[in-house]
Symmetry: C2
Subunit: 373 residues, 2 copies
């Protein structure tokens, strides 16, 4: 079946909303955070560990799986769920973002994007039709339209042409999309420009997708206002009865700001990526476990955290594992970091239901950014 | 308490024996295979996963833990069990093997070994007393005597002096060993020479340890006869009421040959090491999962294996994970490989009890080394 979004409660003072998402693999509450399993595995974790964090939907990357092992092998395995042993909902991206960020040089035309594989330099072509065909074979529950992801520095003129083409690409993808069990999302682009975001949202919504995502938001500290503006420029033109997904965003504060602006779904590699570098999310900011002050700290990363890592292991032990390059360290931090973001969304959902999302933001900021860290 | 070995059944035609080992953390059957957690973690695995393979005793390396995080930190954490969250028995080696293999250059004297840390070149001294002191702080259940591990190429003359010194070192370690909860094993050395093995065994047993290990067996395919001979030269002089441990041996055939010659305990990094290179033990020999023939093989590594990896994942998926450098691949293969060796010991125990250990060896060799692999 297609996914079904059910709007349950809207915050009175903000755009924040609480709802549920019915999928082929159960119903999940929103706002939600979706861990990323780029290559058909959430880095360092088993599917059981991913589920134990409270995760529902997870992501997989079409670009990576297209190149290795190839969508035909995944299809022969019985689809992505069987291949990777995950019996929860899976969302695949379109491959667009990776083609534009990983694969160079590239040649963009109306037909699609010609580029060289980042693995072996093979010349490949990704088109809206090809992206949908791959995602169909991967058999994800939610597929994404193929979009152009221009650099943050692109001009208004460039972005205008790009957004118009992305709408045409969205239409082409929709036309070839056949899988009645797989939902398809449209993507709103337009960089930091209000007029382009509006155009992109209106034209994409006209095509009638199962959900909408906001893409092309710069994910760095310098451009947070641009990100928040891009959401605000897009949301008014998205239908209330469809889920809204902010792609590639997972900084705690950005999740909160996104939720306040009406976003339902988030994904990001950040919890597993920073874990591999020895970093943990805490309510008091990011913790670098390699710091010497944790050498003899025999308390968990967070005393009140209910994750497997915090229930059984100390900072001193995890610090040791990271220092001596043992993957179990990255695994424990990944579990904690994913659980941290999922707990954050759990708390946000409660805050929305209690109409105190703005107060929650204040409390969070006070704790997360306090100076004596 | 000290460990207690209980001899239950001796094979009629060989030296093989079935028994149990009572430890601070429960009673376990022998012959047993002990997975290695060099740096206070069995590479890529959680303690729960280690236990799920059927493992009882695990190893940790004194040399590595001495350097990082340092035995004092482990002691402050409440000992190794608490530090790494393993509530099963732990055996620590003496650090001798690593000092002789990893740390160079080194200067061997009657007092001990002066060497440079393989991590940062710091000049360090390991002595029998220091080794025992570190192991006391680590609070393992079984500690090992500090021994010299000469190269396989050492002359009879060199080995004679070395063996005599190792006996003196064993005595010094015993004299300073205070921990009533920690057992201490002596080590029989002597290279490939019957007279030296006999001397080493007799003199070490005179000191009265809680168990005896056979060390200095070359662990390569070229020298299997030397290894088996070294065991045969040593075993007749070891008491029947104490466990016998063959250090660093984990090739399936060597475990079988060791058991037939009277060994009760084995340890080796091989199951986790070959896993990281994409190799799996099977009853039909070693399997390199990267082989193209497994690309579309949607069956488990071994159909009749009861491990987590074989119950949930296919060769095609594990091959993909290894090919794209995802640690979950090494983890699945590590689980399988450890379980393989532990199942092997389970089958060996049954074979001993049924007095058909020689038949078991024949069956195993026929299957493991058959040509059409």
């Amino acid at each position: 079946m297609k996914i079904k979004y059910n709007l349950i409660h809207e915050d009175k003072k903000t755009q924040a909303r609480y709802g549920t998402l019915k999928t082929n693999y159960g119903e999940y509450e929103t706002p939600m955070f979706m861990p990323v399993g780029t290559q058909a595995t959430v880095k360092t974790l088993s599917p059981e560990e991913v589920k134990a964090t409270g995760a529902g939907v997870i992501l997989a990357n079409t670009y990576h799986l297209w190149l290795r092992p190839g969508e035909d092998i995944v299809a022969k395995a019985g689809g992505l769920h069987k291949f990777m042993n995950y019996d929860g909902p899976i969302l695949t991206d379109s491959g667009g973002f990776q083609v534009f960020s990983l694969a160079k040089p590239k040649d963009i035309s109306e037909e699609g994007v010609m580029f060289k594989s980042h693995i072996d330099g093979t010349k490949l072509m990704l088109t809206p039709e090809k992206s949908i065909a791959i995602q169909n074979k991967l058999d994800s529950d939610i597929a994404m339209s193929f979009d152009e992801c221009p650099p943050a520095s692109a001009s208004h003129e460039y972005l205008k042409n790009s957004v118009e083409r992305t709408v045409r690409w969205a239409k082409r993808g929709l036309d070839v999309h056949q899988n009645p069990k797989q939902s398809l999302f449209g993507i709103v682009q337009g960089g930091p420009y209000a007029d382009l975001r509006k155009y992109s949202a209106i034209e994409t919504v006209k095509l009638d997708f199962d959900g909408y995502s906001i893409g092309g938001v710069a994910n760095d500290d310098e451009a947070k206002e641009d990100m928040y503006n891009a959401i605000e420029y897009s949301i008014p033109y998205l239908p209330k009865d469809k889920p809204r997904y902010l792609m590639g965003v997972g900084e705690p504060i950005d999740i909160i700001e996104g939720v306040i602006r009406g976003i339902d779904m988030f994904d990001c590699v950040i919890p597993t990526r920073i874990a591999r570098h020895g970093n943990a999310f805490t309510r008091h900011g990011r913790m670098n476990i390699k710091n010497a002050k944790y050498k003899e700290d025999f308390t968990p990363i967070e005393e009140d955290c209910d994750c497997y890592a915090c229930k059984h292991y100390t900072k001193a032990y995890i610090r040791h594992l990271i220092n001596v390059d043992e993957t179990f360290g990255a695994r424990l931090l990944s579990i904690h970091n994913i659980r941290f973001l999922i707990r954050l969304t759990e708390q946000l959902r409660i805050a929305i239901k209690e109409d105190r999302i703005l107060e929650y933001r204040e409390e969070f900021i006070r704790s997360y950014y306090e100076k004596d860290q």
